[in-house]
């Protein structure tokens, strides 16, 4: 899908090798960002369900917290 995008750097066929390398690097960076985002999203959800001390959250998640070993109260 990325191949179809116009080349923003305007590099021509001569520098094809370099362009490929740049593209790979960009793709890898996007993946790292995506993976980090997903991991942080997961960590936030675990924190909210397991650790956040708002009274409403605590009461709602109480039984799950105890059963899954989170320090509860």
């Amino acid at each position: 899908m990325r191949e179809s995008a116009t080349n923003p750097s305007g590099v021509t066929g001569k520098d094809y090798k370099m362009t490929t390398a740049t593209k790979t690097a960009t793709l890898a960076n996007t993946n790292i960002l995506t993976i980090t985002f997903v991991a942080l999203l997961g960590a936030t959800m675990v924190f909210l369900a397991g650790h956040a001390q708002s009274a409403a959250l605590h009461d709602a998640a109480h039984d799950v917290r105890h059963s899954s070993g989170f320090p509860c109260h």
């Binding site: 890898a28 996007t30 993946n31 995506t34 993976i35 980090t36 985002f37 997903v38 991991a39 999203l41 997961g42 960590a43 936030t44 959800m45 675990v46 909210l48 369900a49 397991g50 650790h51 001390q53 709602a60 998640a61 039984d63 799950v64 917290r65 105890h66 059963s67 899954s68 070993g69 989170f70 320090p71 509860c72 109260h73």
Partner: protein, 256 residues
């Protein structure tokens, strides 16, 4: 990539969360509810079984806490003879148990998101994810998130004495992260050094020591607490292995 990560995590987390909460209702919840009777002082640790049933009935009547017919009929109902005493108000508390279902799924989707992020990192290092390896991912998750913290803190039954909550939460989080890193090194490290570092990482929180209360004076009986600890670890290992298997299965499906 994002779609694959989110889809695998949602499906796997949902499935594992439902398994976890079903097992929780069957094996852990009765112990929790019984412990709460001690925690709230409805039942005392050293009172006789008849006195326990009696205590509970009178307190329900005098405080007017409940209008549940099951509890009102409780006087001609011998609580001491079976474990209904663990669930004094009604068979199913829809709000409370519904929230447990919701939060179990929510928690496991959170764990699943972290696990599939791990899959993606592993795959970028040419490590193949198979359904079978999902089993190991699940076991590793269990060790990092359940067993290692429980090794230091014990399981937190309502009515157990415990140290300051904030300190325990910090210790819990640090232990989970260090153990997960250590297990990653054990699984994917090359040579002898990763093992050495892994042992150090996994041991560190336990050498440092988990926060403990000054004295053990919680009202929950030790028998109940012990059963609770083994049961909840047992339920957790099933849930985590399911999570690993489901996550790996959905992950490999998305490849095709």
């Amino acid at each position: 990539m994002l779609t694959k990560l989110l889809a695998s995590a949602l499906f796997a987390g949902f499935a594992a969360g439902l398994i976890a909460v079903a097992l929780q209702f069957a094996f852990v919840q009765p112990i929790l509810l019984e412990a709460e009777l001690y925690e709230s002082g409805h039942v005392e640790h050293f009172s006789a079984p008849e006195a326990r049933a009696h205590d509970h009935n009178t307190s329900a009547e005098t405080t007017g806490e409940t209008t549940d017919p099951a509890a009102e009929n409780a006087t001609d109902h011998d609580h001491a003879s079976h474990d209904h005493s663990a669930r004094p108000k009604s068979g199913i508390d829809f709000k409370r148990d519904g929230l447990s279902v919701l939060f179990s799924v929510f928690t496991f989707v959170g764990f699943a998101l972290i696990m599939v992020a791990g899959f993606a990192i592993a795959q970028s290092r040419d490590i193949t994810i198979t359904i079978r390896s999902g089993l190991y991912w699940g076991l590793a998750g269990f060790v990092a998130v359940q067993l290692a913290p429980a090794f230091g803190l014990g399981m937190d039954l309502p009515g157990n004495a415990a140290a300051d909550l904030g300190e325990r939460q910090i210790w819990w989080a640090a232990t989970v992260v260090l153990t997960a890193l250590g297990l990653w090194l054990v699984a994917f490290g090359k040579g002898i050094w990763p093992y050495a570092i892994a042992i150090a990482l996994i041991a560190l929180p336990h050498m440092f020591g988990a926060p403990h209360p000054d004295g053990f004076n919680g009202p929950a009986p030790p028998e109940l607490s012990s059963l609770f600890a083994t049961r909840s670890l047992g339920v957790s290992i099933v849930a985590w292995v399911s999570l690993g298997l489901f996550a790996a299965w959905f992950w490999t499906q998305e490849d095709t």
